[in-house]
Amino acid sequence: MEEKVKNITTDEQQEYVINMGPQHPSTHGVLRLVVSLKGEIVKNVQPHIGYIHRGIEKMCESITYPQIIHLTDRMDYLSAHINNEAVCLSVEKALEVDIPDRVKVIRTIMSELTRIQSHQLWWASFGMDLGGLTCFFYGLRDREKILDIFEETCGSRMIVSYNCPGGLMYDIHPNFQKRVKDFIKYFRKILPEYDQLLTGNVIFHERSKGIGKLSLKDAISYGITGPSGRASGFSCDVRKHEPYSAYDRIIFKEILFTEGDTYHRYVARIEEMWESMNIIEQLIDNIPDGPFAVKMKPIIKLPEGEYYQRVETARGELGVYIISDGNKNPYRVKFRSPNFVNLSVLNQIASGFKIADLVAIGGSLDLVIPDIDR
């Protein structure tokens, strides 16, 4: 008996398997990671998903196109507006309707606001994962300003449901432009504070530089998009390569790095916030006049066929693939969600690092679990 116990504890070949999650605070949702450890070194990470599977794709088959919008809010709830837009764009593409300029510009501004607030929340929780609780309060404090803008114009703070096929649900609130401008002015002053708090911090450097390197080759073969992919040098910004809405008329640069470690995934997001502010500033003063929606038929039926539209959410490329058989409900809807794909690379980049680094690496991929499970 004694010998057996001794064997297990001293056997160097033994791997120690632990469950991280599904209720672990650093997985930001119900994600379960089965981690094989040797000592403190991660040997293998196996994600187990499906804890928050709601069957959104299947549900879409039994409801009409305008009704799908509110379900996409609940996939990647931090990019709710951009998800809405993806569905609307693919429906509009199928019906070949011309969208007024006003709608395009407002959608773009809203998308960029969504991107900023998503990155703010990510920054807040990433700082907290690494032990800096202050970040969490500061990030959420600034995010509140954007949520107020959403609340005033769309009526909800997070799951906005502001798009509908053909345009927007309502026109922007009269205060919208002023509030957005105030926010940009405020946030341009605050963002350097983020750098002082976390980016320049020596503990943060030690924990993120050189950790979880993702090579360009791996990024492309796994299909890692969004800031995580661009930190490895994978030029994958849909806004740049396949402009939708008003992205073709504005000047912005795609944030690209080549290192691909946790630190650069972090910097890529910070830089994206600056870039998003530039985009908003170019548009906010010249929102064209016109209708905020085109009149659609009360029952929208797509012609038979297949339609695909991709957009850039805060986490990467979201693809909406609709197969229609000519009815008012889609025959099949498939969402290519960025988080599901980004999660798949976790084992590749976390192996060989310490278990505490797994938290940092997972945080830097910025996973939103409901988007993985759908």
Binding site: Q67, G155, G200
Partner: protein, 159 residues
């Protein structure tokens, strides 16, 4: 010798970077004007929500207890999750014609996802969003509401 200098340099840099962060947090300590937290629920009396805030669906009635809902059922069709149920009855109008009218407009607050499709598609603008948000109750049955008030009637002139 060099390694010792580097070591000391690292310590100085480390402490300096920490101080920089502390400066930010410390400066907020002396700027009470930047506090953003609201003292909810103490400020309940003067808490104003945005006028578009989607708190719950209501049916506005005028002072004569009249509403605009014709009982057409369009909101019921458009609701993605069956939160709305229209129970209609047939009534006899003054000129002796039979007509469909609303008996009960049932709204299940517990199921509603606040997508605003019902409010947007209602042809006679009979329903709207109210700004209340304190919906917690002890009994789930209380979340099933009847929007038209008892004894209410269709407003004159609304078809």
């Amino acid at each position: 010798m060099r390694s010792i200098i580097n070591y000391l340099k690292e310590i100085v840099f480390g402490v300096w970077s920490l101080m920089k962060g502390m400066k930010v947090t410390g400066s907020y300590f002396f700027r009470p004007g930047t506090i953003v937290t609201q003292k909810y629920p103490n400020n309940r009396k003067d808490l104003v929500m945005f006028d578009r805030f989607k708190g719950e669906v209501v049916m506005p009635h005028n002072e004569k207890n009249e509403h605009k809902c014709t009982g057409c059922g369009i909101c019921e069709i458009n609701c993605p999750n069956g939160s709305i149920e229209i129970i209609s009855k047939s009534i006899v109008t003054e000129d002796g014609k039979k007509k469909r009218a609303i008996d009960k407009h049932i709204y299940r607050l517990g199921m509603c996802t606040f997508c605003a499709l019902c409010v947007k598609t209602c042809p006679s603008n009979a329903i709207a969003f109210a700004q209340g948000f304190e919906h917690a109750v002890f009994n789930r049955a209380l979340l099933i509401k009847t929007l038209n008030k008892p004894g209410s009637q269709l407003m004159k002139g609304v078809e």
